[in-house]
């Protein structure tokens, strides 16, 4: 008989093992052993009787955002939905109306984000908008599972496999480690009994094929996405060019982010540049990451030298962005689009500069610029489609 893991949907016969308690799946065993015969389900605790499901936003959604938001609620009835929206289009705000509808109908819902850093930031944003109990679940925050709305990393979804959500919203399904990880994708899928909503700026072909797609290629302030400038340099001259670029921004008091491909490179560049600039380094190995990001948001720092850890989900007001060694294999076209999307997100400075410093002009760099230009071009056609 063909074995299928009830948690991660693994079907590979090599990844099943018969232990003392029966057959279990070894593909997802790092989340604790799951016997394939064990398919009991638990029930959720009841929602509090005084649950408030209203959304409070500090700003009003644009007409286009309202239209997309309405369509999400309609289309979720019939199957999985993908919202293909450019970076900074307000994807999180788009799904708030849907979350509110679900909570009103007393449905269980989770927002799944691949990155831990973004979980905490998004949970804070939801706390400002909803007057209900919101539980962030990620590394370091694993005690509270009782929230009316759960915001968690994909890894934490295994805790809810026995209960199952009515709907799951997956933000950035194209991000590491969710992207290309069949086990995580299986666990998230099996933790949901209804339809799923994907929010992405750079969806892959399988999502585009399997979901109903809603497109939003314009930002709320109506400005185009900043198209990156590509500058080909040598290794030493590139570093000097970067130094001049950063100094210029510090003088003009424009905050900046410099993305570099490797942690060691980030540390070394910070060490050199710190002699003349008020900057810090932010990588996955940085200990006081939250503190540094906070400082940057408060404009106490002129800039940050970071790795792809800050490529998505985090908004700094009015920043300029430079990618050093943009032709490095770490930077895929999706991640370059996300990095370029850090620029001009707020209406107080809806424009800015994005610079790619490359040693060679890689296909990924060219593809990312082409995709941003395509999104800017398509903006008008989507507007007319929605209007009709």
């Amino acid at each position: 008989m063909k074995k299928i893991c009830p948690r991660c949907s693994n079907e590979d016969p090599n990844l099943f093992y018969e232990g003392s308690k029966g057959w279990y799946c070894r593909a997802c065993v790092q989340f604790s052993r799951k016997l394939i015969s064990d398919v009991h389900y638990e029930t959720w605790n009841d929602f509090p009787s005084d649950l408030s499901a209203d959304v409070h936003l500090d700003f009003e959604l644009t007409d286009l955002q309202k239209e997309i938001s309405k369509r999400i609620t309609e289309k979720m009835e019939t199957g999985d939905v993908l919202v293909w929206a450019v970076t900074g289009a307000g994807k999180t705000e788009l799904c708030m109306d849907f979350i509110s509808q679900c909570l009103k109908q007393r449905k269980r819902i989770a927002v799944v984000i691949p990155r831990r850093q973004v979980v905490l930031e998004l949970a804070e944003r939801f706390k400002r908008s909803f007057n209900c109990h919101i539980s962030p679940l990620c590394e370091g925050y694993t005690d509270d599972l009782t929230g009316d709305l759960i915001v968690c990393t994909a890894h934490q979804c295994y805790r809810f496999f026995d209960k199952k959500f009515d709907h799951i919203i997956v933000d950035e399904p194209d991000a590491f480690p969710y992207h290309g990880n069949a086990v995580l994708q299986g666990i998230v899928r099996n933790s949901c009994k209804g339809s799923m909503l994907y929010l992405s700026a750079t969806p892959d072909s399988s999502l585009l094929e399997n979901c109903q797609v809603l497109r939003l290629f314009s930002r709320p302030h109506g400005y185009d996405l900043p198209v990156p400038h590509i500058r080909k340099t040598g290794k030493v001259s590139g570093l000097f060019y970067l130094w001049v670029w950063c100094m210029k921004r510090q003088k003009e008091k424009i905050p900046f982010l410099v993305f570099v491909p490797e942690i060691e490179m980030a540390n070394r560049i910070t060490l050199i540049f710190k002699t003349s600039m008020n900057i810090e380094c932010c990588t996955s190995k940085t200990e006081k990451k939250d503190e540094i990001i906070d400082k940057m948001k408060k404009r106490e720092l002129s800039g940050l030298i970071c790795t792809t850890v800050l490529e998505r989900g985090i908004t700094f007001e009015g920043v300029d962005v430079c990618v050093f060694h943009a032709d490095h294999p770490v930077f895929t076209s999706a991640s370059l689009i996300q990095i370029a999307g850090r620029v001009g997100r707020k209406s107080s400075r809806p424009f800015g500069e994005c610079l790619f410093l490359t040693f060679y002009q890689s296909d990924e760099v060219i593809e990312s610029v082409r995709m941003i230009e395509y999104a800017n071009h398509q903006k008008m056609s989507v507007l007319s489609e929605i209007a009709s």
Binding site: N14, S20, Y24, S32, R33
Partner: protein
Amino acid sequence: MPTIRKCLYCQKSLHKQSLMQYMMNDALCLSCRRSLKIKRKTLQMKSLKITYFGLYEHDLAEALLQYKECMDEALKEMFLSEVKDWIRFHYHNCVFLCAPSSSKALERRGFQHVISMFEQCGVPILDCFEKKTDTDQKQASFQKRSEISDVLVLKQEVDIPDKRLILIDDIVTTGSTLLALQNLIKDKECTEALCLCIHPKLLAEYDKKRRRFCIY
């Protein structure tokens, strides 16, 4: 369709193995085998000579966690496969006495992890100790761990044979469990213990005192 052999731990294809691994039909790929850093060493703790095969850190610690806490029973054959012949040869005609697990952990896992691990060496193992209460040593402090002797007892129905006795355990953190077990069978001579790994802190303490081990 021929089945593709996969590494037991990283689950990648097994095409990268050393000649020796291939000959021994090792279940791990070359990089996993190297990352475990299995190497035989000994230390003397009071009257007990402890032979261990690695330090409880990095990949070995992660693999042990997956085996014990995630209950991945399939991993039982990966830990001692490199040294099983040495154990069989060196300890022939010996009886291995296994350190006990709490009944709660045993029920949850469905297998005694130390016995399953050492069974791969083909040696006789006697499960003659038990814990009176379900104490969890994982979160216990250094001081608390030394109180383990109050919890451990010898099973009444078990008859210990008159052979060379070897205590076995998976991890030695402070050594209190092994010393308590040795104390329980003090009428029999038992001066040797075998464990998969020791805690790096214990080794540091041991190195500091230069073979004059006296933390108790």
